[in-house]
């Protein structure tokens, strides 16, 4: 072997070895996921919990992030407005609200417009605005529940309504729908409409007073499940039929135990999921309808088992 050849060979080997030491790979990974600011009405019922989980599930699937805010109860309008405002100030990408007051347009809607942040509503809509709405058709739900209650009352006797805050279009529309149906029933009289009980249960005293004032009442329509459960507990053992909205486990149990006559299955999970999906499509620039009405089923003891097995299958899928 020539010395020169040897030296060359050694040099090549050394070059190879040293390039091995100096070459370092670089990483660079960036991610910008859109953030959805969400303001709900409250957090304490199963309905809202399942709604939040539906939203989170969809956001995970679609690569978005969520920030939730919620006032303590469905009566704190100012707090809700401020929460929405603080989300806007912190520059979230989309604002989704379930308004406590459907009939006054809050300031933050204007603020959002200025900041070009899209706003949509879910569960409850802003009446008289073009803000998109995702939820159930509350009038239809009221109407259908009226029909079911009338059937169970055998189309005669007194009925009463215990509604949530009527500033919320959802509760008002449910009552409207219920009343519209009841007008078709000649032998049923709507004896009273109590309002303002959303997530706060009616106090024992009030229920007793109601029982005393309206002893002939055979059917009650409660616009929210929590109220309905409260009343059901108080008047257990009487033949008063109760119908209500919101699908949740304890209501279904109550149906099974004959404490509640019927429920319209407003699924929080589905509303949450559909809302985030709607937002995703909106951010992709798709043309969308301003109202997305989700179908509702009336569940009574007759179809309860069937419904449960179907929803379990859906869950498993």
């Amino acid at each position: 072997m020539d010395k020169k050849v040897l030296i060359k060979f050694v040099l090549i080997v050394l070059c190879f070895l040293f390039t091995g030491c100096t070459n370092k790979q670089n990483y660079n990974y960036k991610n910008n996921k859109p953030v959805i600011g969400i303001v709900t009405k409250s957090t304490d019922s199963e309905y809202w919990m399942s709604l939040v989980s539906g939203m989170n599930m969809a956001a995970d699937e679609l690569g978005m992030k969520t920030v939730f805010f919620s006032p303590e109860s469905e009566s704190e309008k100012e707090v809700q407005d401020r929460l929405a405002e603080s989300l806007l100030v912190n520059k979230i990408d989309v604002l989704a609200v379930s308004p406590i007051d459907s009939y006054s347009e809050p300031d933050y809607i204007n603020q959002a417009k200025k900041m070009t942040i899209p706003v949509i509503s879910f569960d409850t809509c802003f009446e008289g605005t073009k803000i998109p709405y995702i939820g159930i058709d509350n009038k239809l739900v009221g109407y259908e529940l009226g029909k079911e209650l009338a059937k169970q009352m055998e189309h005669k006797g007194q009925a009463g309504i215990i509604a949530g805050d009527l500033r919320q279009s959802g509760h008002r529309q449910r009552v409207d729908g219920f009343m519209r149906y009841m007008k078709t029933e000649k032998n049923i009289e709507v004896a009273f409409i109590e309002s303002g009980y959303a997530n706060l249960q009616m106090s024992e005293k009030k229920v007793r007073k109601m029982k005393k004032n309206y002893p002939m009442v055979k059917g009650i329509f409660a616009t929210s499940a929590v109220t309905a459960l409260g009343i059901a507990q108080e008047i257990d053992g009487t033949k008063v039929k109760i119908v209500t909205v919101d699908e949740q486990k304890d209501v279904l149990d109550a149906i099974e135990q004959n404490k509640i006559a019927a429920v319209a299955n407003q699924s929080g999970y589905r509303i949450g999921y559909e809302t985030v999906q709607y937002i995703h499509q909106m951010l992709e620039g798709k043309e969308l309808e301003t109202k997305v009405l989700l179908s509702v089923q009336i569940i009574t003891k007759d179809n309860l088992l069937n419904y449960m097995s179907n929803s379990r299958e859906e869950y498993l899928q």
Binding site: M1, K3, L6, F9, V10, V13, F16, L17, G20, C21, N23, K24, Q25, N26, Y27, N28, Y29, K30, N31, N32, K33, V35, G37, K65, T66, V67, F69, E76, E78, V79, R82, L83, S86, L87, V89, N90, K91, I92
Partner: protein
């Protein structure tokens, strides 16, 4: 560097080093990449969790600030104070603020600022409130407030002027007019110990909690003082999540969904790979150690391979100096071993050839000497014999003169230097002279018959080839006293060979005698007799090899000696 051995050693070393370093590098780089990737994955998850926790904390405090701002009791007390300016009300409000402060550990204090009244109420034990704030201070604060931001970095204007992170919320009266501001404060120190200190470990060079371009808190205290980001980091702080690296550091940046606070980490790449580098270095060390250890057997191994070669080289060198007697020692049974053996054989052969040449040279010298001696005697003999012949002629002895003449010619023929070969005709002439002399010697009872084909007369044969056969016939075959003794000499061609036949009609000889004749050693004697059959055989094989031969046939009717040789014609013809 010139011996085969050092080359083999160098090759072994080189191959070993290249392979070992190559494998080490490949494994090292693979492992480094994997470790970094895993580290980044795990660390960025941790960081994401941390920033999410910070975010949730801010969210919660944000909610509390709104809750305070919307609290009706506080609102009423503020309205009343604005109307009456009673100090007692301030203590009442402070009590309320304290209650809110207790709802979360993260809150260091809550302030309520009433700008018009130049009053601030705190949740602290001291000062509970402060009135108559300077206009300058109020100006500064209102500047901070005017920005469209709820999360602000502000100096603690009530307590110690240190920078604090504050959540700001306005208080409105029934008419929607702003009557005051709520500050829910978080101490930077708290943020540092709760969040940065927990995520920080040895590998982290720097960690910063950022609010846009402002540094809230950082591991690097110099940065905190200035509250400005070091420029070289800026490019890693884009977007919501950013994981990147350059040759020295790994950068991880996360931004809170709600608070938009950013957590930035700068991790020393070398420290992550510290253990791996240690392994690599110790591996290299071990490799070098083993290399040195393996050099010892390699040294001996090459010696074993190299020794026979060295031996052979050594031998060849000596041979080239002329020491032909030396032989290579055969040490191994491999190619070099057989090469040495072949070389030795070649040396043997060369020596043998040299010996032959030397002998031939000696013989030649002897012959030349002998020839010189002979050259003297024949001339003297010819002259003497010629003188005797003349004397016999003078005395009228013609027969004697004739005999002398024959004898001289025979002598001339046998001694002459004219050449080794004669034509058949010349051979017969010489043979006739010889036989006439013999006939005279034995009293003239011998009859010689020549049967020579004309075509063979010009063939070349070795000189005096037949004379020994004739002599043998006279000595052993014939009874000379018998007047009927015949010798027949025949020369003819057969099968491309020249046949020379000498036949007598004597009593014959036994097979043993034939064998004895054929095998008897050449005895060099002076004169013509007893040169012997063996001499003929020797000459035939010398000149013609296997092409020529001599055989005897004998019976009671006589003996026949036959020579056959290849036909060679005289060049003169």
């Amino acid at each position: 560097m010139n011996s085969v051995r050092s080359k083999i050693l160098a090759s072994i070393l080189l191959i070993t080093i290249v392979v070992a370093f190559g494998i080490t590098m490949v494994i090292y780089r693979g492992a480094a990449k994997m470790i970094e990737q895993n580290y980044i994955t795990v660390f960025s998850q941790r960081q994401e969790q941390t920033i999410n926790a910070i975010d949730q904390m801010v969210q919660k405090l944000s909610y509390i600030s709104i809750d305070v701002a919307c609290n009706t009791e506080i609102k009423e007390a503020v309205s009343e104070y604005r109307a009456t300016l009673k100090e007692k009300l301030l203590e009442e409000i402070s009590e309320n603020l304290r209650a809110f402060k207790k709802t979360d550990d993260g809150i260091s204090s809550i302030y309520l600022l009433l700008p018009k009244e130049r009053t601030v109420i705190t949740s602290r034990e001291y000062p509970v409130y402060r009135r108559k704030l300077s206009k300058k201070l109020l100006g500064q604060i209102s500047q901070e407030i005017s920005e469209q931001c709820r999360l602000i970095l502000i100096s603690d204007f009530v307590y110690d002027n240190k920078l604090i992170l504050s959540l700001l919320e306005r208080i409105e009266n029934d008419k929607g007019e702003i009557i005051g501001y709520i500050f829910v404060n978080i101490e930077n120190r708290k943020l540092y110990y709760d969040y940065l200190a927990t995520i920080t470990e040895n590998n982290v060079k720097n960690a910063m909690l950022l609010k846009e371009s402002q540094v809230i808190t950082s591991l690097d205290m110099d940065v905190v003082k200035e509250h400005i980001i070091v420029n070289k980091y800026v490019k890693w702080m884009q977007g919501q999540e950013n994981v990147g690296s350059d040759s020295e550091n790994i950068y991880i940046y996360y931004k809170g969904n709600y608070s938009k606070l950013g957590l930035f980490l700068c991790i020393d790449r070398r420290k992550i790979l510290g253990n791996l580098v240690y392994i690599r270095n110790s591996l290299t060390g071990v490799m070098i150690l083993f290399l040195l250890i393996s050099l010892i057997p390699a040294f001996y191994l090459t010696r074993v391979v190299y020794r026979p070669l060295k031996e052979l080289t050594h031998t060849i060198k000596h041979v080239s100096y002329g020491e032909l007697g030396i032989r290579a020692r055969i040490i191994s049974k491999d190619e070099i071993g057989s090469l040495s053996a072949e070389f030795n054989q070649m040396l043997d052969r060369i020596e043998e050839l040299i010996q032959q040449v030397v002998e031939q040279e000696m013989q030649k010298k002897d012959a030349e000497l002998e020839a010189l001696q002979y050259q003297i005697t024949p001339h003297f003999m010819y002259n003497t014999l010629n003188s005797i012949k003349c004397a016999a002629m003078l005395h009228g002895e013609k027969e004697l003169a004739k005999l002398l003449d024959d004898f001289v010619e025979l002598l001339q023929a046998s001694i002459s230097k004219r050449g080794t070969f004669l034509t058949v005709a010349e051979e017969i002439y010489v043979l006739k002279k010889y036989l006439e002399l013999q006939n005279f010697r034995y009293g003239g009872g011998l009859t010689v018959i020549y049967e020579v084909e004309d075509s063979v007369r010009q063939c070349i044969i070795p000189r005096l080839l037949l004379q020994p056969l004739v002599e043998n016939a006279l000595l052993h075959g014939l009874d000379i006293k018998d007047k009927n003794s015949y010798i027949t000499i025949r020369m003819y061609k057969k099968d491309d060979k020249l046949y020379l036949e000498v036949k007598d009609n004597g009593q014959g000889i036994t097979k043993e005698q034939i064998q004895e004749l054929l095998n008897s050693k050449t005895k060099k004697k002076r004169g013509l007799t007893a040169i012997g059959v063996a001499n003929i055989k020797e000459r035939l094989s010398l000149y013609y090899g296997d092409e020529a031969g001599l055989f005897y046939e004998s019976s009671s009717n006589g003996t026949k000696a036959v020579i056959y040789i290849p036909i060679v014609m005289d060049a003169g013809e």
